[in-house]
């Protein structure tokens, strides 16, 4: 079942009184019990997509299209309604756990604060709910009384997940949730995210620059480049037989044991900056006919 559907989304940002397109023709849907990944480099528009869904863009951004959540268009909601959505329906998890937590407040208090927004939890049960939640994300009870600086990066990210989950949202958007963490902790946090969302029958939108994270986590994937989706589909199919030359280049650029001794492939065209984009025929953004001309070998692989 579709929880979130993004249709013909176009976003323009105003820089020095001129409008520049940051997102063009974005279409995708997020289904219950599924994890959708968005992969791309900096400047690809993956984080802007998340911000557009939650309406966290600057006021002067020009947004066209629809973002349907449970059949209603979020882009038409009032700020007040959006606040309800953000706390109870669609939660967001950011990259840097240290910056999201208040350093002067006990961890348990911060989760409790979030729980207060959900009227369906009676006041006398809040504390026990919070402890239950901390245990669900794999933290011990005594974390409740600790301050953020007493926790490791992985534990902090677990707290963030607890805060995101306490109001039982049906969608979680995670923007580079494990980029700041060590490899050994990374997989634990990703697995935790996946399991809690499965348990709740919810949907996860995972934004990452890391193809291995996407491969590990996602059922479907969108590959973004310069504000557009250049390729999408089932993750294993997209990653094993990429159709678009950019996807292929992105995969080839990842260092691996198997490539020892040989040079890594460079992505030939870096993401153009926002102001360079319009009016320039950027090879990766051209239509199929041109793509085959530019990158003849790409089509043969599949």
């Amino acid at each position: 079942m579709t929880l979130l559907r993004v249709k013909d989304l176009n976003v323009e940002l105003i820089i020095k009184k001129e409008a520049y397109p940051v997102l063009e023709n974005i279409n995708f849907s997020l289904n219950r019990n599924k994890t959708l990944g968005i992969v791309g480099e900096s400047g690809s528009g993956k984080s802007i997509t998340a911000q557009t869904i939650l309406r966290m863009l600057p006021d002067d951004a020009i947004v066209n299209g629809t973002v349907e959540f449970n059949g209603e268009n979020l882009l038409g909601f009032s700020e007040r309604q959006m606040r309800q959505i953000r706390t109870k329906e669609i939660s967001m998890i950011f990259q840097e756990p240290g910056l999201t937590l208040n350093p002067l407040m006990r961890v348990g208090q911060q989760v409790l604060e979030a729980a207060r927004l959900d009227q369906s939890i009676p006041a006398n049960k809040r504390e026990s709910e919070v402890i239950k939640m901390l245990e669900e994300v794999g933290l011990k009870k005594d974390v409740y009384k600790k301050y953020p600086h007493e926790l490791s990066g992985g534990m902090k990210q677990r707290v963030i997940i607890a805060i995101a989950l306490i109001c039982n949202p049906s969608v979680i958007i995670a923007d580079e949730p494990t980029t700041a963490l060590d490899a050994s902790i990374q997989s634990q946090i990703l697995d935790l995210l996946k399991s809690v969302m499965e348990k709740r029958d919810g949907a996860l939108l995972l934004i990452s620059h890391d193809l291995t994270v996407i491969k590990h986590m996602c059922d479907d994937v969108l590959v973004m480049y310069a504000g557009r989706i250049v390729e999408s589909g089932k993750t294993d199919i997209v990653l094993s037989t990429p159709k678009h030359p950019y996807t292929k280049a992105l995969i080839d650029a990842v260092p691996r044991f198997q490539k020892r001794g040989s040079a890594l492939d460079i992505i030939p065209f870096s993401v153009p900056s926002l102001t360079e984009r319009s009016g320039l025929s950027w090879p990766y953004l051209s239509n199929e006919e041109y793509l085959n001309e530019y990158f003849p070998e790409a089509g043969d692989e599949s």
Binding site: E41, S42, G153, D182, A183, S184, I185, Q186, S187, L190, H209, D210, L211, T212, V213, K215, H216, A249, L250, A253, V254, P255, R256, F257, K259, R260, A263, L264, D265, I266, I267, S270
Partner: protein, 259 residues
């Protein structure tokens, strides 16, 4: 037999707070580490954040002095108090993790690359500029960047400037602390290629500190694994998949997401 260029012998460094009022147990950032880096190899040091890998690198560079043990870099006994940094500086250089913090925002690209030449009074200004432009060409920065300021550059370009400024005095060893971790894949790939190329052409020995295990497997010849300040093992990457390993190493590399 290859010649060790860096020898670290039973080195420890603690950050204990011994004041008049309290005597805490010293916490070892690095605890009895012994290793040797051979001339011409790419030596990886991996570990999680807080494992002490950066502290170890700082001791090899001479920024920090170890509490115990001895470090020998290129025949210089670092633990000998008479050695000062400027004797070593032409031979061992460092590239920092953060491409934003490693360049002075008030100085041009050209100035930053040339700095070491100024400090050691090498050549006149025309010669310096010539050497700088030649090096910029090698790290694929066009001449037009010579007069630009760091805020006008992208992360990858800054890292190229940082590498060029470390290479201007023709060092023999380059220590790179998480030099590619903050970069996008495509830029990471180009920097790794650049380092490999420079290593060959300039006869460099690279010490590569990272937590990125994919990069280690691609890039390094031998790897030291560090946990809680202690050396767990040193392994050869070529035979990594067949050799037996320390249990922590196995755990660490198992946690790489399946490819």
């Amino acid at each position: 037999m290859r010649q060790p260029i860096i020898e670290v012998e039973n080195v420890s460094k603690s950050y204990g707070q011994n004041s008049w009022f309290s005597r805490n147990k010293p916490e070892y950032a690095v605890d009895g580490v012994t290793l040797a880096v051979n001339r011409g190899e790419t030596f990886g040091i991996v570990g999680e954040s807080g494992s002490g890998k950066t502290t170890l690198a700082h001791m090899i560079l001479g920024i920090l002095r170890p509490d115990n043990g001895r470090i020998k870099v290129l025949e210089h006994e670092l633990t000998d108090s008479k050695v000062n940094l400027s004797d070593m500086s032409n031979k061992i250089q460092f590239v920092f993790q953060d491409p934003h913090g490693s360049l002075n925002p008030k100085k041009t690209v050209g100035w930053s690359i040339e700095e070491a030449l100024h400090i050691h009074n090498v050549g006149d200004s025309a010669k310096r500029k010539e050497a700088t432009l030649a090096l910029m060409d090698r790290v694929s920065l066009s001449e037009s960047y010579y007069d630009r300021y760091p805020h006008q550059l992208s992360g990858g370009q800054r890292q190229r400037v940082a590498i060029a400024s470390a290479l201007i005095m023709n060092p023999e060893i380059l220590v790179i602390d998480e030099g590619v971790s903050a970069l996008d894949v495509s830029i990471q790939a180009s920097i790794l290629n650049l380092l490999n190329e420079l290593k060959k052409s300039m006869n460099l020995t690279l010490v590569f500190i990272t937590h990125d295990l994919n990069v280690v497997q691609y890039f390094c010849d031998r790897v030291a694994v560090i946990k809680d300040g202690q050396l767990k093992e040193i392994f050869n990457v070529d035979t990594f998949h067949t050799d037996p390993h320390d249990s922590y190493t196995t755990h660490l590399f198992q946690s790489i997401l399946e490819d």
